[in-house]
């Protein structure tokens, strides 16, 4: 019985996860190393990878800052009534339930060139939709719950007492946060950062809608893969996909490591 279950488990993993992973590593080398390098060094590839890099960095920074702050407020702040807190708490999860395409659509609907706000920004010379700011917004929307959801349980678990102790010893907010709260939530935050990076690296639907997928302008690595596949340029798609997959596996290792550290604490 036991043997059967273990074998079945291995089988599922082999088919569903391991085979695809192997396939992408071999697929990218189909045309030899030159094909792989050519696929990667196309100007649009380099530009797309750069766009992805920019988005990941900016989104991770903003999301970490605001996510941690919001988690602190949702758990600790007394100026929010319990009812309001519960409401906000359930709103945090909404982006998880929203299809990325719809997330992108929302931004187009509110900030697109034909809308009031969009044209206002356009007059000021700032393009949002079909440009980098819109893509960042879309990714922020999609990744928003991750950090809050990682940090909140840790904060709840450690309780407010250590912070209260610090305040009776004369420490004010900043000092208390850095010396008392931060060491406890550190690994939760790092785990959240890794997840945010993974998600913003891989975000596709929302970015596709908002960016318009304009080559060498608003194309990201994932939307380039999509375009290559649509153009039946599978080998090129494979090259980019391999780079992304390698990053993902790296992130997965980081995730495991952060998770272990988080538990040790």
């Amino acid at each position: 019985m036991r043997r059967l279950w273990i074998t079945l488990t291995y089988l599922v993993f082999a088919i569903l996860l391991i085979a695809p992973l192997v396939k992408i590593f071999t697929g990218a080398w189909k045309d030899g190393i030159d094909g792989f390098i050519d696929a990667l060094t196309r100007p649009q590839s380099l530009h797309a990878l750069m766009m992805t890099g920019i988005i990941v960095v900016i989104v991770t920074l903003i999301n970490t800052l605001f996510g941690v702050m919001l988690a602190l407020y949702l758990v600790r702040a007394q100026w929010l009534g319990p009812k309001l807190k519960r409401l906000l708490n359930s709103i945090v999860d909404l982006p998880f339930a929203v299809s990325p395409v719809i997330g992108g659509l929302m931004i187009v609907l509110i900030l697109g060139p034909n809308t009031v706000i969009g044209s206002l920004f356009e007059d000021a010379g700032v393009k949002i939709v079909y440009a980098l700011p819109g893509m960042i917004l879309a990714t922020l929307f999609v990744t928003f719950p991750i950090m809050v959801r990682e940090v909140m349980p840790v904060l709840q678990e450690i309780g407010a007492q250590q912070e209260e102790a610090a305040s009776t010893l004369g420490a004010y907010s900043w000092y208390t946060f850095w010396k008392v709260t931060w060491p406890s939530i550190r690994w939760g935050v790092i785990y959240g950062v890794v997840l945010t990076v993974a998600r913003s690296l891989g975000e596709f639907g929302a970015v596709l809608v908002v960016s318009g997928n304009i080559m060498n302008k608003t194309q990201t690595a994932t939307t380039l893969v999509y375009q290559d596949v649509e153009n039946f340029n599978v080998v090129a798609a494979n090259g980019i996909a391999l780079v992304l997959a390698a990053f993902s596996v790296g992130l997965l290792l980081l995730m495991e490591w952060a998770k272990k550290r988080k538990e040790v604490h």
């Binding site: 250590q162 209260e164 102790a165 305040s167 009776t168 010893l169």
Partner: protein, 354 residues
């Protein structure tokens, strides 16, 4: 520090946790806030610390109203129920925390921390983390940490609740000595009357958010002002119908008067053992329990049950045995009032007739 609290109230939503509490505490006193769990003791303590904002009322330290002062500026030390030690800091860093905040020099910090570490008997443990310490040691660290910035007032929330029964007594004595040595005004919260009686100079009994009585342990035991205090402190038998007991026939003139009788108010003896025979009434021994240093005896006087103690030196009673009982006094109360009544037969001019 002299502390004055006037008409303090605290509401949590619909729940009225603290109702109109007023008291004064003299400098240097060790005060115990005693009462059942959930009675508002901790809320009072937290309001004194500034961790909770009063709904109304004033808190005055040294003649200065501190209601709007944050905890950082009140000059208090707080020992939390679970100590709330900073778990990622060593003992040394925990104790040094309040000094670092105040930007003392490294030398000053070192000197003060080492003094406190030695004072609390933690020498050699400075570099341990809280999870490497025993419960008693953690409590000492929490105490040392709270004292480090030289507060004017020390507040302790159930300081012994999380400690094994065995070392609890030892730690109590230690804490009392320590506080006396430092000479700091201190208030601690507890639900354990034995602890309060043993440690505190003065006890405040808190029930359902109200201050029932404030006084020395002996005072509170001897002269309880409310039925709650009488029943909460010490053991006692609760009597519905006091007029059935000899000497107290007239006690129930006011309707609904009930009584509490402490074990030591009752004297029992085999027939003839009690001298004031005319003041005694017959009773039957129901059960006896060995209590280590004495017997606890359950008696039945008619339908009324009484509990009392009997010395081990005296002859052992047996269940079912008939005995004489003399009731020295009773604590009487009704809806309006409460008072202590001595047994009038005790001072009757009986001896003259003999």
């Amino acid at each position: 520090m002299h502390i004055e609290v006037r008409n303090l109230n605290k509401n949590f939503g619909d729940f009225h946790a603290v109702r109109d509490v007023s008291f004064d505490i003299e400098k240097g006193k060790l005060i115990g806030l005693l009462g059942p769990s959930g009675g508002g003791k901790t809320s009072i303590l937290r309001m004194l610390a500034g961790l909770e904002t009063p709904s109304s009322g004033d808190i005055v330290f040294h003649g200065k109203r501190v209601n709007d002062l944050p905890p950082q500026e009140r000059g208090i030390g707080f020992v939390f129920q679970n100590y709330a030690l900073f778990k990622h800091m060593t003992v040394y860093d925990n104790v040094a925390f309040g000094l670092k905040v105040k930007k003392h020099t490294k030398e000053q910090i070192r000197e003060r921390v080492m003094y406190l570490v030695e004072l609390t008997g933690l020498k050699g443990f400075e570099h341990r983390y809280p999870h490497q310490l025993s419960g008693g040691q953690r409590q000492r660290v929490a105490f040392a940490r709270a004292l480090a910035p030289e507060p004017q007032l020390l507040l302790l929330d159930e300081p012994f609740a999380a400690i094994d029964a065995k070392i609890r007594t030892e730690l109590r004595t230690w804490l009392k000595e320590m506080i006396e040595r430092v000479g700091i005004t201190s208030i601690f919260v507890t639900h354990d009357q034995e602890e309060a009686i043993e440690v505190a100079d003065e006890i405040m009994i808190i029930n359902k958010g109200r201050l029932e009585q404030k006084g020395s342990p002996w005072d509170i035991y001897k002269n309880p002002e409310t039925p709650f205090v009488a029943s909460f402190i010490g053991e006692s038998s609760f009597i519905d119908d006091i007029s059935s007991l000899k000497g107290f026939e007239s006690a129930a003139v006011q309707p609904d008067t009930k009584a509490l009788i402490r074990p030591e108010y009752i004297e029992i003896g085999k027939p003839g053992e009690i001298k004031l025979a005319s003041a005694t009434m017959p009773a039957v021994v129901k059960h006896i329990h060995f209590r280590g240093s004495e017997w606890m005896v359950e008696l039945a006087v008619g339908d009324t049950k009484l509990i009392t103690y009997r010395s081990l030196e005296k002859e052992v009673l047996k269940p079912g045995e008939a005995v004489s009982v003399l009731l020295h006094r009773a604590y009487l109360f009704n809806d309006q009032d409460s008072w202590i009544m001595e047994n009038p037969l005790k001072v009757d001019p009986m001896p003259i007739h003999i």
